[in-house]
Point group: C2
Chain length 345, copies 2
């Protein structure tokens, strides 16, 4: 199907009474061709319902007009919004999107990258589970990372000369924490996500911003941060309960939107009312946050996706192979609603 029956440029050429080369010129808009024969070829192509074989085109022209997007969790709305923006932008610029979901697994990420490389994608948009170049096996570094145009988003990998599009994790965490401290809270915990005991760069930066605010306010150096693998519901529940059982906590900052559902359920079971008994702020504004009046940090997903695509395509279509480290930090927005309240002991 779709193969044996397919008509090729050869048949179009025959029908139009020209050579294959000429038919190609008419269809592909390259080279010189008289308007008259062009029309003749186009007509023949239409009559035959000719669909050009992009595989063959790519083979010859060495460009697949395809971009890969590799994300750790496509079901997370944050990545969903970014992928949607990328798809649209890429399509507008004539590129298709090949997508891979690594599930936060490093091995899977490497497998995906290798597959994408072999598929000859023109470039790769990556939110990696790796934090440092040194963690990546040399053969991938050499035959993939240094051979394809890469743009990193949301998560950077240190020591690569790539463009990275991030959001202001440290600053926003600092700001949110400071806001909550300003409300009189001193016992502020954070919940981030981890997978196989590794915590993403992004969450680490947020933790750092949080601790900076704590320190500045004279509230100690460590703070109280836990990380959970939210896909392990039972374990997550257990850890959240331990957090609330054994620690005095009057405010919680959630560093990953995937956790908030579970947290709300647990607060509910414990009859903890927001914001009367506990204050909450979360990353990534979700559909229900407005209704629930949850204070949230809204990251610029659309912009991040578009900028990543633009940078990558620029690199792909550039004449030189220049590589240069460039980190672009996009501003997030703090949407203050009513989930954080002045603390009274």
């Amino acid at each position: 199907m779709g193969k044996e029956g397919s008509i090729t440029i050869k048949e179009v050429a025959k029908k139009a009474g020209v050579s294959v080369a000429t038919a190609g010129r008419a269809m592909g808009n390259y080279g010189r061709i008289s308007e008259e024969t062009r029309q003749r070829v186009l007509k023949a192509a239409e009559e035959l319902d000719y669909v050009p074989n992009k595989l063959a085109q790519s083979m010859r022209s060495r460009s697949t007009k395809t971009i890969a997007v590799v994300v750790p969790d496509i079901q997370n709305n944050f990545f969903g919004a970014i992928v949607a923006a990328m798809e649209q932008r890429a399509r507008e610029k004539g590129y298709a999107i090949l997508i891979c979901n690594t599930n936060e697994k490093r091995e899977l990420e490497l497998d995906c990258l290798e597959m994408l490389a072999s598929k000859q994608v023109d470039g790769i948009l990556l939110a990696s589970t790796f934090v440092d170049k040194s963690e990546i096996p040399g053969r991938y570094v050499k035959s993939i990372f240094y051979k394809f145009p890469f743009v990193l988003f949301d998560r950077k990998i240190n020591d690569f000369p790539f463009v990275s599009i991030l959001s202001d994790n440290y600053n926003m965490a600092y700001r949110v924490t400071k806001y909550i401290i300003g409300l009189g809270h001193t016992d502020i915990a954070t919940i981030g996500s981890e997978k196989e005991h590794v915590v993403s760069n992004t969450v680490k930066e947020r933790e750092a911003g949080y601790r900076a605010a704590l320190r500045e306010a004279g509230l100690g150096h460590d703070g109280l941060s836990i990380n959970v693998d939210w896909k392990e519901q039972r374990e997550t529940e257990k850890r959240l309960n331990i957090l609330l059982d054994y620690h005095k906590v009057s405010a919680i900052i959630v560093f990953n939107n995937s956790i908030i559902g579970e947290l709300l359920n647990i607060l509910n079971k414990r009859k903890l009312i927001i914001p009367d008994n506990i204050s909450i702020a979360t990353w990534d504004d979700e559909e229900y946050d407005e209704f629930l009046k949850i204070t949230a940090v809204k990251q610029p997903c659309k912009k991040m996706g578009e900028l990543a695509v633009d940078s990558l395509i620029e690199r792909i279509e550039a004449d030189d192979d220049r590589m240069e480290e460039l980190t672009i930090t996009l501003n997030s927005t703090l949407i203050q609603r009513e989930s954080c309240k002045i603390y009274r002991a």
Copy 2:
């Protein structure tokens, strides 16, 4: 990048001291080859960091090991969950996923399909904006729909001999409506989604199930159904307000999860408390629904995605080109929570 520098099987062959054909046999695991030379080739390949060019492989073998997924709205969690399941299943079976977001636009859908066809995908997984074959221009029907393996999901197109994987829209709507009627409600409205004034098949079936329950209970034949384009926030808000201003409504069934956020906000502005002043049930269980105690219909996204991939791959790998209409209806689950309450005038 990634191209000029790439090493080909020719270089591997040279290094291993064999012909290109033999090197191919060693790498691709086809044909007969002695274990000894196989090892020699593999070693040469590894030393050169050889990555096979799948474009060339596909060209020759006439199989791209790539499946296309075309969805109307990738940002909708429902489709997000399906796409995630598809990606995983496809990867496990050795296929990559090319993704297209049609934004509920028919023209865009056709453009995407044409692009995918020209990319020689092995098959297409489609949630279409078309309801009927007759709505699709003939040339696409002929050169795409009848030339590629298709499996439809969530939304069926009538008159094509395809496998369609749907969920039980009619039945669940009937059941939800009956449940609400059982609670004593007589003024039940529904809200579905539309795009450019076209309402999807799926929503239409849900409306039909709703009306059937109404009729059966002697509550008239029409019911009160509106459809909104939820991306047009202002217009959506206006219509929802009109619904509540000019009609007596004690219960609302929401047929598309993208609308619920906006609806909750409006109910909130109007000081309508769920379930005291108004009962609510919605399609597609979302992260916050448990916390908010919203009664929801949970569709089997994962199963739908997996089954769609399995059916498509079965078709792709089958020897015959047999096409046969087959509609598989998957069961959804009604999660009764506390957003619907006994009606008191």
